[in-house]
């Protein structure tokens, strides 16, 4: 099998490489970090409010817990929530969009009505509402991802439907229809591969939405209850007056990791878009 030339284009794009390296760094940091740096993020392992030092590279919080350990584990679970969010939101958005686009008629009207309703009710508010009413024992990483996922799919459904509508009139679809293929096979086998890069970009945006959404829910006090994510670290810092006590090493690294992981993914999608989208390709 030969490697398509577009892959070379991608590897020649400097923005893509920068984004990819940053993201790989974040992933490695979160996965391997705990092997090298073995402190428990919940352990009161040192004196409280220590500024960064040799012993505590990112200092300790007000309860003497190690912040570097919190960041390593927090990044891992923030990414976990992000990916899970994408895995929940993607299938819903794709299936609803594809079915609406291919079936048309009353099915289309109903599905798009539903989509527009969910789209118009702000996702973050809906997520706060659902998370706030769940008993706190139930708020695991998975449930938080689920809550963000089921409130964030509508824009993908609309986008997939629009793509399907524009592809539906192509010749290869008529050929498939003449061959007696059903709508479902046409949608998922003939049309979906055509929007693969689109779907990849949606995945990345959902991961980002999950990471940022989780951080928001955590800050308002309805994040994962017994877990640790970057949002939870920021929540601790905010509620335990890290600002007033000027413990900058507590809240700066957590935010930096959020921005690093989400921005590196955004840089990757922008680069992919530039390589694959002829209208954006350089002159």
């Amino acid at each position: 099998m030969t490697i398509p030339s577009i892959v070379y284009d991608l590897l020649r794009n400097r923005r893509f490489l920068v984004g990819l390296s940053l993201f790989l760094f974040v992933v490695c940091f979160s996965l391997i970090g705990s092997l090298i740096y073995a402190r428990d993020p919940f352990d009161m392992s040192g004196p409280p409010e220590q500024p960064p030092s040799r012993e505590y590279p990112l200092g300790t919080d007000r309860m003497g817990r190690d912040i570097l350990a919190q960041i390593i584990w927090g990044t891992r679970y923030s990414l976990y929530v992000g990916v899970l969010t994408a895995l929940i939101a993607m299938p819903i958005g794709i299936v609803i969009g594809a079915v609406a686009g291919v079936e048309g008629g009353i099915v289309d009207e109903l599905l798009m009505g539903l989509t527009n309703i969910v789209l118009t009710i702000p996702g973050i508010l809906l997520a706060i509402l659902i998370a706030a009413t769940l008993p706190s024992g139930l708020r695991t990483y998975e449930i938080v991802a689920f809550v963000i996922g089921i409130t964030s799919w509508p824009w993908l459904a609309r986008a997939v439907r629009a793509q399907m509508l524009s592809l539906r009139e192509r010749e290869f679809v008529y050929l498939s229809k003449m061959a007696g293929r059903g709508n479902a096979r046409i949608a998922f086998e003939d049309l979906l591969p055509n929007i693969a890069t689109y779907v990849f970009m949606a995945f990345v945006l959902f991961v980002n939405g999950g990471i940022l959404g989780e951080a928001g829910l955590s800050l308002i006090g309805v994040g994962p209850t017994r877990g640790i994510t970057l949002g939870v670290v920021l929540y601790w810092a905010a509620t335990m007056e890290a600002l007033r006590r000027e413990l900058w090493w507590w809240f700066i690294p957590a935010g930096v990791m959020i921005v690093l992981s989400t921005a590196s993914l955004m840089i990757i999608t922008t680069a992919v878009d530039e390589v694959f989208n002829p209208r954006l390709r350089g002159k």
Binding site: N116, P122, I124, I128, L234, E246, V259, R279, K283
Partner: protein, 340 residues
């Protein structure tokens, strides 16, 4: 003059928003009825602690009165109907925690602060972000465009409230230039005196900046791409071939790429309000986010419910307003004709 097609479009949007509002209200109702809390039990316990000599008959009277106050004495479907009809009239019941206080009073003292924060900051971010995004798209390949893209990518992924924390830490606690949070000095009462307005504006700068800066990036990124698309379209190539001045070409491109951004504004309002709620918590700014946060912590569900009912209603009104503006600037809707 409002044309027929414009009226039809607006009527359709209004009907859609009404249906969606009822759906949203129903979701809020269902979610909050799933929570197993009974405010009456809590109040009765408090009552017994305050007055242990209460007779069982009196206790029964109290319970009846409390159930009636929170409207929990009726069947669920009747609660739903009264809730819906009252929600449209702005009657949101009573707080579970601050007994006797109307939810609408609590919210009406918070809503102006949130609007005062969100509306100017979002509009400013939208306008400035789109302008620099359009300019970057127009100056494709320049250093300005490349720098702006990276900066915008980072800004668009920066959580509002983390930016708020950074600004608060740097300008309030470290440099002591701005006050550390809240909307006005605790020694003052809200009034329309020049001193109070001055103090409020002084407290306003940091929260405003955090929402403004966090909002810029997304608009700039979107507008850059839209401008690049527009620049590649046939009518622009033709205009350029005719030898039109750069400023004229830019104006054409800008006006046409702004149209999707107006719809984008409507869709982004929800996210902006969500971000503002979180920013308010960081700044202890006495708006809806602060009220919501406290109500969630105290399990004061009528207040939580009220915050959502009012926020969603406000957002939908804003949505409708944006639709109206959209209809005015897009000739395809204003005059009618080809369907988009």
């Amino acid at each position: 003059m409002i044309s027929k097609s414009l009226a039809k479009y607006l009527g359709f949007r209004l009907a859609f928003l009404l249906v969606t509002y009822i759906v949203a209200l129903s979701i809020v109702f269902i979610m909050l009825r799933l929570v197993p809390t009974n405010p009456v039990d809590r109040l009765i316990t408090q009552l017994l602690q305050l007055n242990p000599n209460i007779t069982p008959e009196q206790l029964k009277e109290y319970m009846k009165a409390y159930y009636a106050l929170f409207e929990l004495d009726k069947p669920l479907w009747m609660q739903y109907i009264t809730y819906l009809s009252k929600a449209f009239r702005g009657d949101l019941g009573f707080s579970y925690i601050n007994v006797g206080r109307r939810v609408s009073d609590i919210i009406m003292s918070a809503l102006p602060w949130t609007l005062f924060l969100v509306v100017p900051a979002t509009l400013a971010a939208w306008f400035v972000g789109n302008s620099i995004g359009a300019y970057a798209g127009y100056k494709r390949g320049s250093l300005f465009e490349k720098t702006l893209l990276i900066v915008s990518l980072i800004l668009s992924q920066t959580p509002y409230y983390w930016l708020a924390m950074l600004l608060l830490f740097a300008f309030a606690y470290r440099l002591n230039i701005f006050p550390p949070g809240q909307a006005y000095p605790p020694t003052m009462l809200p009034s329309l005196t020049p001193q109070f307005i001055q103090a409020a504006l002084y407290h306003y700068i940091l929260p405003f900046l955090s929402i403004f800066i966090a909002g810029l990036g997304g608009w700039a990124i979107g507008m850059r791409v839209l401008t690049i698309y527009e620049l590649g379209s046939d009518y622009i190539l033709f205009t350029e071939a005719l030898g039109a001045k750069d400023s004229i070409v830019f104006r054409y491109v800008f006006r046409n790429s702004m149209i999707p951004q107006v719809t984008g504004l409507a869709l982004s309002l929800g996210g902006a309000v969500g971000g503002a709620l979180l920013t308010e918590i960081v700044f202890s700014y006495p708006g809806m986010g602060y009220v919501l946060n406290r109500a969630i912590m105290q399990t004061d569900y009528p207040v939580v419910q009220g915050v959502f009912v009012i926020l969603i209603a406000t957002l939908f009104l804003a949505n409708f307003l944006v639709d109206f503006v959209y209809a005015l600037i897009d000739p395809r809707i204003r005059i009618g004709g080809e369907k988009v």
